[in-house]
């Protein structure tokens, strides 16, 4: 069994039963940050150093989307040869009132529509003999097959 590690340390919970993005929440004003903010709350009228880890909502609505039809340049590492186009989603989280990007799991741009409900999933970003690097993706809640 390979060692599973998150794509970026501290950014996500890679428990398959509980996939979540991890941000930070300011104890003073309640502002939420993703990626995690550890030094100072970025609300300019707050600036508190008290930031605690918080899991973001695993569901949201599709704010917009696009496709990567050509292989992005380094440091992107393609998973397939030849390169397979993929979709990228911007998903709006209601409670956090923020939009978070992610690659789209399983379906392409033709299966997406702004306003549809999306949920967080996990997928492999990179793999070598010892380690599997896990990233987050967005996937339509209804429809779309899991890859």
């Amino acid at each position: 069994m390979k060692k599973r590690v998150p794509a970026v340390d501290g950014w996500l919970n890679i428990d398959p039963a509980h996939p979540r993005l991890i941000g930070t929440k300011c104890s003073a004003c309640g502002s939420i940050f993703f990626p995690r903010e550890a030094v100072r709350c970025r609300n300019p009228r707050c600036g508190s150093p008290n930031l605690e880890a918080t899991e973001l909502s695993a569901r949201g609505t599709l704010w917009s989307y696009t496709g990567a039809e050509y292989q992005p340049p380094e440091p992107y590492v393609p998973r397939t040869n030849p390169f397979q186009p993929f979709a990228i989603a911007a998903v709006e989280l209601a409670a956090e009132k923020m939009v978070v990007l992610g690659q789209v799991d399983g379906v392409g741009v033709k299966d997406l529509k702004i306003g549809m409900e999306m949920e967080l999933t996990l997928d492999t970003l990179l793999e070598d003999d010892e380690t599997e690097t896990i990233t987050w993706k967005w996937k339509p809640v209804s429809g779309g097959s899991h890859s």
Binding site: A7, V8, D9, C26, C29, G30, S31, I32, F33, F34, P35, R42, N43, P44, R45, C46, W63, S64, Y65, T66, G67, A68, E69, Y70, P72, P73, E74, P75, Y76, V77, F86, A87, I88, A90, A95, E96, K97, M98, V99, V100, L101, G102, Q103, V109, I114, G115, L125, T135
Partner: protein, 395 residues
């Protein structure tokens, strides 16, 4: 309203893929701007360079690099970086110096030699750099962000791929006779719509290329300008604002927006606030604008700018385009130079080039692409990591 500074001279090295050292383009543009102004290089008291980060150390210290190439003259110098807004940062450095009374006449120069293909982050592994991580983790190029905005405009305001193509058609026509433009060829909508899909819904011809090029300006105090002209083009306002927290529109190179959970969204989203600050400073209203040069990194993004700079209410950009208002001969022509569609982006030179074009327009020297009677112009642009960029000129 703030005091004005005069644009005494402007000059450019034609955009292209020339493969030469960036310094050569900057020097040519500077020579042309000095000649246009009628000012000797040895009389320049301040040099403001716009940095290029893709040409090694000389690019990071562009002000000194250009000053050395022109021949050390003992001027004070600065070098500015603000990504795509670098040129505006350099213009602002010179303008502020003049307004402070610390110099009478300054030279602003930006030039670039760019690599082929997608703009990629600097080499090396940097796990705490969002610009590196977005490529690594998301595979998100610059065009990804343009694609997100374009799709959103289609969904919210009914824009179509045909509309986006018409922006390219318009700009290609505008730039046909512009000797500084790289692409001088008519493009029809069918060619745009059949070009390769890059970042759905944007196709190859919807997206601007990267180019080599150089642009320069001689700026001076109003008093200094009186020795040369009674009616100079002047800078009435410059905006180089950051966003206001929380910035709730996804911006390159970020993974997310700010959260509006604890603090309400500001009165104006970032891109609206850029032009607003310039208008406030200039004491000019959007209705007074006769001509605009906006950053059409993509065709769809040009439409966004129409609304961001107040040429029409939010959602009406497509109507403005379809009505021909933004075509030369229309109510408020946008990108008469041909825009990035005809130039391709030469990062540190581009924001300066926008002002060069408006200067020619306001002087009535724009030839076949002249916007008749233009008295007020605005540029708009944005550099990644929160660099607003807008310059208002008038005559």
């Amino acid at each position: 309203m703030v005091d004005q500074v005069a644009i005494l001279g402007v000059g450019m090295h034609p955009w292209g893929k020339w493969g030469k050292n960036f310094v050569e383009y900057g020097v040519k543009a500077a020579e042309d701007a000095l000649k246009d102004a009628g000012v000797a290089w040895t009389d320049i008291q301040y040099v403001a360079g716009g940095d290029t980060i893709r040409n090694g150390y000389p690019g990071y210290v562009a002000g000194a690099t250009f000053a050395q190439a022109l021949g050390w003259n003992g001027a004070q110098i600065s070098s500015s970086y603000g990504a795509c807004a670098s040129g505006t940062q350099a213009i602002e450095a010179a303008r502020v110096r003049i307004l402070a009374g610390l110099c009478d006449v300054a030279l602003v120069v930006g030039s670039d030699t760019t690599p082929k293909g997608f703009l990629a982050p600097n080499k090396g592994t940097r796990g705490d750099d969002p610009d590196w991580l977005r490529f690594r983790v998301l595979g998100a190029t610059n065009t990804t962000y343009f694609g997100l905005y374009a799709r959103r405009r289609m969904s919210l305001y009914g824009a179509t791929s045909e509309d986006f193509a018409q922006v390219k058609v318009k700009n290609a026509r505008h730039g046909l006779t512009n000797v500084n433009a790289r692409y001088r060829k008519e493009v029809n909508a069918e060619e745009v719509l059949s070009s390769a899909m890059v970042a759905d819904p944007l196709r190859l011809l919807d997206i601007c290329a990267t180019s080599d090029g150089g642009a320069a300006m001689v700026l001076c105090s109003m008093e200094f300008a009186r020795r040369f002209t009674t009616n100079p083009v002047t800078i009435a306002g410059i905006s180089a604002v950051t966003p206001t927290y929380p910035s709730t529109v996804i911006e390159m190179p970020n993974f997310s927006t700010d959260s509006a959970a604890a603090v309400a969204m500001p009165a104006r989203p970032f891109r609206d606030s850029i032009a607003y600050a310039a208008y406030e400073q200039a004491g000019i209203a959007p209705e007074e604008v006769n001509v605009a040069e906006v950053y059409d990194l993509s065709t769809a993004l040009e439409l966004d700018w129409y609304e961001n700079i107040g040429l029409c209410p939010t959602g009406d950009a497509v109507k403005l385009l379809r009505d021909g208002d933004t075509t030369i001969g229309g109510r408020v022509p946008v990108n008469p130079s041909g825009g990035l569609a005809c130039f391709g982006e030469a990062v540190p030179a581009q924001a300066i080039a926008q002002v060069c074009e408006l200067t020619w327009q306001l002087r009535g020297q724009a030839g076949a692409r002249q916007v008749e009677g233009a008295k007020v112009g605005i540029t708009a642009n944005q550099g990644l990591f929160g660099h607003g960029s807008s310059v208002i000129v008038k005559r």
